[in-house]
């Protein structure tokens, strides 16, 4: 049995070596995606293009504006001379943030009233707007606190040291710089392996059916189980190689930390691969041509991505969608990936995810093998 499976595997790799396009298809998309996620995918907010309109022209108004730019989050790209201009800059998309300080700003501050600053945010990208708003109010709070203190000094200097206050000290664990790359690069391993191994397996089987060589193979003494092993093992090996390659690029080139145990990740990767190979096999039993297999796998993968936590947090989804994520192997693998990379936790924490992948893998593999055997008859 072993020798027949080995022959099958050798044949699969031989086929891959002969097919230049297949090799390009195998290597180029993961590479491009890894680079894009490494360089382009960010939820961070820096250098927000800002237009300012200072109608007060006092030290106080300039101080507030200087605090905005000093934070590094905002970059003044234009200075408006009237409100209409300010609006135009935002409307045309030349600035995301508009800050207007009305006349009398400093006067109100000095007289102990509440001074107002107006902020206009282009919120077409709601997420950027939300984060930018957080920074604006943080800077505004700092400004207000300093003035409040100043005011108390003037009203009740003797008692100043007695004013109680509560502050929040943030301790962002695992990713102290809030680097989106640290979030996305480990995730990309999961998503790329998913696409690649499902497609590879599905195509490997459907291709034989499409060009009519499946019958030829089936009349040889090879048994269906051996055939399936011969088709899935190469994908398994390629998947492992891919995981290893991206991990290497991610840690060495993109400098994402790897804090956990590589063996835990290897176990998680293997379990995940069982589920993807099963899925690929299942798709192959439903399709007659490679094109159909491609379209079907696309149809399976899109929901799998959106409902995996790859970029949208599962906790923020409505309940029914959250339940759906429970049958998504990628969901569990992403937890394993991010936990081993960033958190450095081991099996004591990750065992439920491993167990879930093992269970899903068993089910999908059994179903696909049964279906496959039936499709041969």
């Amino acid at each position: 049995m072993t020798s027949r499976v080995l022959h099958m595997i050798a044949k699969e790799f031989l086929q891959l070596r002969r097919d230049r396009y297949a090799r390009i298809r195998l290597l180029v998309p993961p590479l491009v995606q890894l680079l894009m996620f490494g360089y382009a995918a960010t939820f961070e907010v820096h250098r927000v293009q800002t237009v300012i309109l200072d109608r007060d022209h006092t030290q106080e108004s300039r101080d507030l504006l200087a605090r905005l730019t000093a934070s590094g989050r905002f970059e003044v790209t234009a200075v408006a001379s009237n409100e209409r201009e300010l609006v135009e800059f935002v409307d045309h998309g030349h600035a995301t943030l508009g800050v207007q300080i009305h006349p009398g700003f400093a006067e109100r501050l000095r007289s102990g009233e509440t001074a107002q600053a107006q902020v206009i945010l282009d919120s077409t990208n709601s997420n950027t707007a939300l984060i930018a708003l957080r920074y604006v109010s943080q800077i505004g709070n700092g400004f207000a606190q300093d003035w409040a203190r100043d005011r108390l000094v003037r009203t009740a200097p003797a008692r100043l040291h007695l004013v109680p206050s509560v502050a929040l000290a943030e301790r962002p664990w695992y990713n102290p710089q809030f680097d989106s790359r640290w979030f996305f690069v480990p995730g990309v391993i999961g998503s790329l392996m998913f696409v690649l191994t499902v497609n590879l397996t599905a195509f490997a089987v459907v291709r034989e059916r499409e060009i009519g060589t499946l019958e030829q193979i089936m009349v040889t003494p090879i048994r269906p189980v051996e055939f399936i092993l011969g088709k899935t093992l190469p994908s398994f090996l390629i998947g492992l190689a891919l995981a290893f390659g991206i991990t290497l690029v991610g840690t060495v080139w993109f400098r994402v930390p790897f804090r956990g145990n590589p063996l835990v990740l290897l176990l998680g990767t293997s379990l995940f691969l069982v589920t993807t190979l099963g899925t690929g096999l299942l798709i192959s039993t439903l399709c007659r041509t490679q094109q159909q297999a491609f379209a079907s796998s696309f149809f399976v993968m899109t929901p799998a991505f959106i409902l995996s936590g790859f970029s949208f947090p599962i906790a923020s989804m409505p309940r029914p969608l959250q339940w759906l994520t429970l049958i998504n192997p990628l969901r569990y693998f992403l937890v394993v990936l991010r936990s081993t990379f960033l958190k450095g936790v081991g099996l004591s924490v990750l065992w439920p995810n491993m167990l879930a992948m093992a269970a899903l893998g068993t089910v999908v593999l059994v179903v696909s093998v049964l279906r496959f055997q039936k499709s041969l008859d």
């Binding site: 939820f43 945010l121 109010s137 109680p164 509560v166 947090p313």
Partner: protein, 379 residues
């Protein structure tokens, strides 16, 4: 150019599309599925974040602070723990996003008129959620601090006026007033839908002739390269427009995304975007003689850059300078600007003149290249 021959080619293409209803179905079902999943599931704005608290003070004051966390819609106090290790373990295991630690002398120091610091341990694996969580937590603690100060000022017999906040920031969130991520994502799906038509359908059109061996027959007929292109792409143009209409309709009527611009702007921009997408899919189809290879390449060239580099998912102005330069090549970038203007901004023709012009240039260049791509020779 002989229109009769182009129409004949088009008719043949329609027959072929009808014989493979699965692909056509996918082109229409996929965007609706994406819209449903992204419309309901894609929320980057976090609410009900799981919070563990470790109250080392255990007084009325500390409970009053934690009560404010409980009352906030952004947080959900899941559990109170009584040692630091349990809190750390919960964050390690992902059972909570945020751990709030109140120091043991919280109440005493407040009474003494000191500054107290409350710790927020945040699981920053997901940097975006962590960032939002910290912002919300700061809001809660800031409000508590202000209340404590007001209380102090009153007890000191000072006028309330002293406690009036020196600064208030009046924030206006334009175009998407409720900061709803749905309004930001759904317009982009219109573009995604048409990219799918290009990648899953149009990219196969010439590759199919090669694969089925009908290329020889096609070459031997008097039909010209331009007629082939026009005839083959016209049905996909119609499908693309129908797909776009379906998406816009679902977005506006079902998901209630605002539509503030004019329909003609949308139609013109959509037609331009389709011309570019289909012309590129056609060129890929000519270059790669296998259907599967062509559609994978088309995904790589059309769908992937749109997802990553158009501003659909990630803001362009936050990308490194080199990547920002590349985004100018992504035609979806211009279309997306128009889409957002039409749906959310309702801006006039002048504000979108630039992206419109860019698409016209793109369509002319790519369209011309595509007519030259097809050669009536057999290699």
């Amino acid at each position: 150019m002989n229109w009769g021959r182009a129409v004949a080619i088009g008719r043949k293409e329609v027959t072929q599309i009808r014989r493979d209803p699965r692909s056509l179905l996918i082109a229409f079902l996929m965007p609706v599925l994406q819209m449903a999943l992204l419309g309901y599931g894609a929320r980057l704005d976090a609410k009900h974040l799981a919070v563990y608290v470790f109250d080392r003070d255990g007084t009325q004051d500390s409970q009053a602070l934690l009560e404010r966390f409980r009352a906030s819609e952004y947080f959900e106090l899941v559990r109170a723990v009584d040692d630091y290790g349990a809190l750390a373990a919960a964050i390690d295991a992902g059972r909570c996003k945020l751990g709030v630690v109140v120091p043991p002398d919280f109440s005493r120091r407040l009474r003494d008129g000191d500054g107290v610091t409350v710790q927020a341990l945040v699981d920053a694996t997901d940097d975006n959620t962590a960032n939002l969580a910290i912002g919300y937590a700061q809001g809660v603690v800031g409000a508590y601090s202000a209340a404590v100060q007001l209380d102090w000022i009153r007890r000191q017999g000072l006028p309330d006026r002293v406690a009036a906040p020196p600064l208030s920031i009046e924030a206006r969130t334009w175009y998407n007033e409720d900061l709803d991520s749905r309004n930001f994502i759904i317009p982009g799906i219109v573009a995604l839908a048409m990219s799918l038509v290009g990648a899953l359908l149009a990219s196969l059109t010439v590759a199919r002739e090669w694969e089925r061996g009908t290329m020889e027959q096609l070459v031997s007929t008097p039909v010209t390269a331009r007629e082939i292109m026009v005839g083959k792409l016209a049905p996909y143009f119609a499908i693309g427009l129908a797909d776009a209409a379906l998406c816009v309709g679902t977005g506006v009527f079902w998901f209630e995304v605002p539509f503030r611009g004019t329909v003609d702007t949308l139609v013109i921009a959509t037609a331009l975007f389709l011309v570019v997408t289909l012309a590129i899919a056609f060129m890929i189809s000519v270059a790669i003689p296998s259907q599967i290879g062509a559609s994978q390449m088309a995904i790589l060239v059309t769908l992937l850059p749109f997802n990553m580099l158009s501003g659909f998912a990630f803001p362009i102005d936050q990308m490194p300078a080199a990547i920002r330069l590349i985004t100018y090549l992504v035609w979806g970038r211009y279309y997306l600007t128009v889409l957002k203007a039409v749906f959310l901004k309702g801006s006039g023709v002048l504000a979108i003149a630039e992206p419109m012009l860019a698409m016209v240039v793109y369509a002319v260049v790519v369209g011309t290249l595509a007519t030259r791509a097809f050669r009536k020779t057999l290699k």
